[in-house]
Structures are given as structure tokens and as C-alpha cells.
Amino acid sequence: MNLRPAPRPPHAATVLLELVLPTGPNGRAVLGDLEELWRERRRRNGALRANLWYIGQAIGTALRLLPPHLRQRSTVHPLWDGVRMEARYSARRLARTPGFTAAAVLILAVGIGGNSAIFSLLRDAILADPPYPEPERLVLPSISHVYPTYTYHGASYPEFEMLLDVTDRLVDPLAGYAVEAVTLTGVGDAERIAAEVVTPDYFHLLGVSAAVGRTFTSGEGNAATPSMVAILGHGVWSSRFGSDPGMLGREIFINGHGVTVIGVLPRGFRGVTGQGRLWLPMAAAGALLDQWRITNHGAHWVSLLGRLRHGASIEGAESQLAPLAQEMRRRWADHGSGGDLVAVVRPFRSVASNDRARASLLLLASAAALVLLIVCANLAGLLLVRGSARTREIAVRLAIGAGRWRVARQCLTECLLVGLMGGVVGLALAAWGAEGLALLAPESWVAGSNELQFLNLEQVGVDWGVALFAVGLSVVTSLLFGLLPAVRLSRPKQLADLSAPLAATSRGREGRRLLGIKTMLVSGQVAVALILLVSAGLMMFSMAKLQRVDTGIDSANLLKFSYTLPRSAESASPHLSLDDADGERMLAVHHTFLERIQSVPGVSDASLGCPPLGGLCGQSTVQSIEGRPDIPESERLQVGTIIVEDSYFETVGARLLRGRTFSATDWREAPQVLILNETAVRELFPNENSLGQRLALGHSVMSEGATAEVVGVVSDILYASPDVGRQPVVYLSSRQVPLADPTFIVRTDNDPFAILPAIRNELRDLNPNVPIHGVETVEALGTQATGNTRLVVSVLSVFAILATVLSAMGLYAVIAHAVSQRNREMGIRIALGAPTSGVLRLILLQGATAAAVGVVVGLGVAWGTTRLLSSLLFGVSATDSVTYLLAGSLLFAVTLLASYLPARRVTRIDPIEVLRSE
């Protein structure tokens, strides 16, 4: 699925242009000109250069179009004049050392760019409020089912109606919503799309009104007289119906039922699930989806969302709901769903992002902050080196009466200039980085499971907010890295140096203390770099372990897709019962279709069942095992329940270990049979023969009181993501538990997607109103499952490499400086007969000490902090000694090299030359 938007020029620059250009068509024509040329340059020179060009054009145009009085030099305040003079003086000084300036700006840009890019993602995903009115008062009240291993917050429709009455004094309004896939027919091909099924107050609650037409009225919330109406999402309206305003009042078909279009929602609105493309009234769910959705007390498919009334608290609302939970516990004690019923009110914000996704983003943000810290230390070191070359100039300035503040201010102004330049270049890098991040972001964050509800990857990028962040960051960082040099260099003690000969100024005690500070800065950088290296290393090992997890199948050329057959509205459960006439009919359709798939050229194997690596398709608990005492509810084993066709195991490449697989003899009137996976056997029958045992499962797959015999054992297949691991699974035969929404699994000889048109044709032949949906390769499912780790690994590795390079550069600069400062000393040593290797060793020792101190400190800090990573690690401990050893020695080696390169210079010192120059 490709939802990536067409590339656009840097947003911040466009905003700037829009601000200065006239608002009419003439101004828009200029924007068009620039976009056209930007596209041309992007094709020719690549995105980065095109973006830089565009930003330059924006700034240039802004400067030309600004009202003249703004451009004129101000004579407002003498202080301002002073600042301007300072800035001009600093700019000239910086221009005189273009190498230093470029290096400093680039180093800073890397730090600011990284942080701004992460910020652009973090802001939308975590920091931003939900885009609805009074988000802090939005809550999700529920009578939750608490099981030993998980909690389920959904409500059934009858429960929703009860809650509506009970919560009225605390929560107003209260709305119910759910997202369901429906089949849309009427105009064009049949299409499977996600519909939000909602109660009328839903739109009012979210403060959304229709762009065209209207939303649902309270009358359309009455389940007794369901209204067959629908509201279109803007996307469906424009893509499928050509934005035709005449759609209002027209009929479309949802799951084969005619409904009238009453409105279109604003562009971009996807509902709280982030997936909605069409909206249906919940009261009509019985007619449009299945009757059980309205009548069944046990089907908890509705999520509740409400707004706390002013003065009501979450705790108050919970205690208000508690008696209802008790009442329901009593009333449905015999319902056998298991678990306890508890009143829970959760703030909406807390559920809008998934812990793991949030942890990953915060980790990346911290890593970016660490890189910035290194950048600061690095620049402070660079400035000190540069500063020591200026001690005499500063001493002169102090001597002729410049105040200390004045000297410090000049130093800070210089830093601020470097900072702002770094910020601008950093923004360009951020635009680029944010684009990369959006490409790397795991699908699970936005599609399907929707782990970060308010993240819209199409909107991630540089805008005013990010620009402001970058500018703020540059000011703060420049103060941070400028402060130490400013304080050190402006010390009145510098006065003494004036009397010393020029070359001697930075020798002696003061010079040595400065060197000490510089060395400390380097050690600090090495320490922080090591933390990043260790973290990146741990994540890399995790990723490698995740990729090496045995999935139990052969995932090559395996394609999965689904269809949903229209069913009679009277069927009472998502699983059709065995004696349901519908079930019989559907089984026949599935098998006919399967046979047709198998005959498509290029298909080597095809079956029906839950696709591996995409999550368990069904779950239940083992209620009892024949011949054993009753299992108390809290100890019942939770198992995956997967309904498969006879050839499923063969198609996916699993092995039959004992017994037999399903066959035609397991027809619907025959005694029900089961196949277990290895893990289930280990859990249920650790020391006995599992074949021939009889189990009872929950009522969703087995009728009350019935048991089924274990006839086979198969090798484990991985269904969830690798870090969840293998789960106990019970397989049932599709002949005995027919499904309305089966998933087909097809192994092909070549490119799996190549057979799709043929398969679509076959299905169209059978029933033109049934679309194929959920097409994906099993390999892609596996990739998606590790998407989160992949993002963290990629970004963290980039940061770790940057950190290593920066700290090595820092060390290089300090050693190079030390060598040039100690030229004379070394010359004398060599003249007196010291071997050059000894002198080299002396210098190297200095670098090695700084590096070693950094490595030791870094290891210690990493030991303490990497456990924060634990929740993201897989198969490797946060204190894995191999990673620490590798990261430590790698960094030590790199820093040693960084000090060896400049140190080599001492061996080339000619003592005579040195002494003569004194």
C-alpha cells in the first residue's frame, strides 16, 4: 500500500513566501513558478539541492518584497546599534576563518537537524493534544472484562444503552464507535472499506460537522427503527464519486443493503480510529452487519468515548459506574465469558499512543539529545582551541579597558551567529531527515493497529513549529557551548599574558589548565558516544535475533488475501454455527473458490486459514480436559483458535509430528476433532500422549458442553511478532467450524502479486459483488512485525556513528592543538636525545588517557541507563557484556587512531628548526 504523498517543496519556505507575496493570483503564480523550477531541480540535482535552492529563493524573495521601512537600518536604540555592531564584527571574524566556521556550522547543523527531525515526529505522535475540543476531558468509560493476562474494554450494544443512562450525570455526551470492514457496491467495482459504526452523538462529541449535508440525528440512533443512511468520508467521496455534490440523497450499497447518503465529512477526518472512510449509524448495525451486534449482550464490539461534565472527575465517574459493574456481574454470571467485571474510566490521551511506539520515539528523542550534547562539548572544545590562539588579542582588549562582560559578550555573539547558521542548515537537514523518518516509520504506527493515533505521516516535516523549535534549540545550544569559552577567555588573568612573549602565552600553568578542560570535554564526548554505541549495539543484536527467529514456515512466495461473503442478517455469531444453512452454503463457496485458485497457472499450493506472522485470528480458553478435575477460571490456558482447511499445514510448510491432519472425513456431522501445536501439547499434556485426549473450548468455537478429540500434533508456527514468540494453538477444521470471512493462503511459483488479476477474475466469475481485500505477502507481514525495531535500529545507528565520529574529531583537534603548542618542548626533548618514539608515546598517552577515561565513565553510565531500553530489546539483556566489550573497544580504537594521526607530527619535528625560531 502506498500512501506516501507526492513530494512538495520545504513547507516552512513556502509559508514564508506566502507571507510576503500578495495573496491574489499574481502571488500564487510566483509560488507556482518556484514549485515548477523546484521539481525540475529535484529531478536533475536531487532533493537536497533543490530544497536548498528553494529555501534560498524564499529568503531572497522575502528580503526583496519586505516593506522598505522594515529593510531600512533602524536607529531605534543605542543598545540595538551595539548588538548590530557586535554581530557585524563577529560575522567578519567568522568570515576570516571559513574552515572553522564551516566545520562549526556543520557540526551544529547535524545536532539541530537530528533533533528537529525527531521533534517533528514526536510532536504529532505524542506531544500534540487530540485534535478535538476540550481533549483533556475526553474519557473512555467502560465496564471492563479483566482476565488474568489481559483486559478487554469493549461493551456490547445493550451495555452501551445501559451506560448511557447511568453515566448521564457525569459524562455528556457519551458516544459509541467501532470500526468494521464493509463491502461497498453500487458504482464501480465492489470495494472493501473501513466504516466507523457510530452513535449520533459521536460527531457532536468530536466537534465535527459535515462538509456537505449533515451528520446523524438522534432519531437515527434508535435501534428499534434503524435508518438506512450513511455519511461518506471526503476521500471516498472524491475518489469514488468524483466529489459529486449530487451524491446527497443517492443510494449506495453496504454489504448488499441500500443506504441513503446524507452527508460528506471534511477532508482529512478519519475518526478516532484513524481508519474510517465511511460512517454508518450504529443503530443500523443489526440490519447492515449482523443482527447479533444489537441484541447480543456478550458481544463486546463497541468502544465508548465521552466528555466529562465540568466538575466531574475520573475517580468520581469510576465510583459512579462501580454499582453497575456489580449489577452486570450478577446478571450475567452464568454467561461464561470468564473474567471479572470492573468499572474503568480511562483518559483518552492515555490510549492514543501505544507504549511500545511511544517508548521507541522517546528513545530516539533521547538519543538525539545526547548527540546534541556531544555537539556542544565538541564546539566548546573547538572554541577553546580557537580561543587560545586569540589570548593575546583578548589580553590587549582587556588591557586597553574593555570590560570583561564586553569580551564575553563578543564571544557569545560569535557563538550565537554560528548557532543560528547551524540552525538554518540544520532545518534543511531536518526536512530531509523527517522525510526519511516518515519512510522508515513502521506501518503499524498508522495503518491497521494504529499505535499512534494522531500521527499523520503525510504531515510530518518541517513547518513553522519545527522551525521555531530549531531556532530555540540553536540559541540554547550556542549559549551552552559558548558559555564555557566565554568565561574562560574573558578572565582578567589573561592580562598577565600580555607581558609574556607571544609564543609562550598558552604555555605554563594556564595553558595546562585549558588543556585539562579540553581533555575533559573530549572524555565527556567519548562517554556519551559510548552510551549511544552500546544502545545501538543492543538494538542491532535484538534485530538480528528477531530476524533469526524460526517462524516454523516457509514464507517465500506466500500470499494471503480475504473475501467476505454476504450473509443473512439473522446469523447469530461471527462464527457460523454448524447447523446453520448459511454455513453449509458458504463452505461450498469457499471450496469452489479454492479449487479455482488452485487451477490458476503459477499457483503451486492454496489453502484457507490464518496467515502466519499477522497475529492470531482467534482466541479462546481451554475450559476442561476430559478425565481431569474442573479447571478454575483463572487457571484456564489461553489458546489461539485457528480454523483451517485440510491442506493448510502443507501450504504454509509446517510439519505434522504425530497423528493426522484434517480430511474430508471430518465433515460437519462427524465428531469434532482438533489438532494441537507443540507448545499447546507442552502446556496441556507435558507427560502424556496428547492424541485421543478430549478438550472443551470456549463457546465461540464449540457448542456448550461439547468436547473434541485431539487427532494430530503439528510443529509450531509463529503467528504474532517474533518478540511475542510461540503461543499454544488449537486448530479446528473449516468443515466443522465454517467461517464467513476466510483468509486464503496461496503459494506461488514466482512473484505472488502476479497471480492476483487471475484470482480476481475467478472471484468475479463466482460473485461480482464480493471484493478481495487484505492482500499481503506473508513475508511483508513478518517485516511489519519488526518495523518498530527496524526504525529504532536505523536511527540509533546513525546517531551512534555521528557520535563516534564527532568525539573522534574532538580528540583529533585537541591532540593536534597540544602537539602544535608543545612543539618547542618536544624539539628540546628530541635535541637532548629522547627517541622520537618516546615523544610520540608521550603524546599518544595523553589521547589514550582521555579516551580511556571516557570509555570507563561511558561504560558505567551505559550500564545504568540501558536498562531503560529493556522493553525494546529481544533476546539480549540490557547489560549484555559482549555488546559492551565490542562497543568499548571499537570506540577506544577509533579515538586512539584519532589521536595517533595528529601525534605523528611530532616525529617530524626538526629540533634545530624549533630552537632557531625561539
Binding site: 507556482g32 515548477e36 522575502a62
Partner: protein
Amino acid sequence: MGERTFLSEFEHLTLAAALHLRHDAYGAALMREIEERTGRKVQAGTVYLTVQRLEDKGLVSCTLGEPDESRGGRPKRYVTPTAAGVRALAEHREALLGLWDGLEAQLEKIR
């Protein structure tokens, strides 16, 4: 009329480029034309202001085209030199040629 209109350097470039481009003279094309023919980097803001000034002086007339998807849905603004514009350009050329008269030989020496 009758009074001579003097052109600034960039007005001169813009008018000449617009003549070269004939019916396809709009902002981006003008920028491209000037850059290619003179090797000089051009700012969109400069072109915009110059066209504006030329229009005020009655030397060009401007018309808006249709919104264009490849330009983010924005229209092109076509620039057509008026008769007065062409005349001003011709006079400018005459003035330059007069100024250059006798200098060519000196340039040859430098080369």
C-alpha cells in the same frame, strides 16, 4: 507618449527574455531563460517585482493561465511585451550600442 522610457538592467533582461519566449513567457520560464542566456542567478522575487514595474509602466501586459497540477495547482502568469515595451527595448539597445561604439577594439586587446 513620445517621452523616452529608460530601462533598468533587469527590466532589460526581462523584456528581452519575454521576447525570446514569445507566447510562453511566464515567471519560471523567464527565470530559466535569463539564467541560461546570461549565466546569472535569478531570484523569483526580483522577476516578480520587475514584471510588476514593467506592467505599471505599460511596457508589458499580463494574463493569468489555468491552474496547473505540476505547479501545486497554481496558475501561470504570462507576460507579453506591449508595443511600447518593444520600442523601449529597441531604444535601450540603441543606447547601449552607442555606448559600446569604439570599445570593441579595446576588448579584443584584452582577450
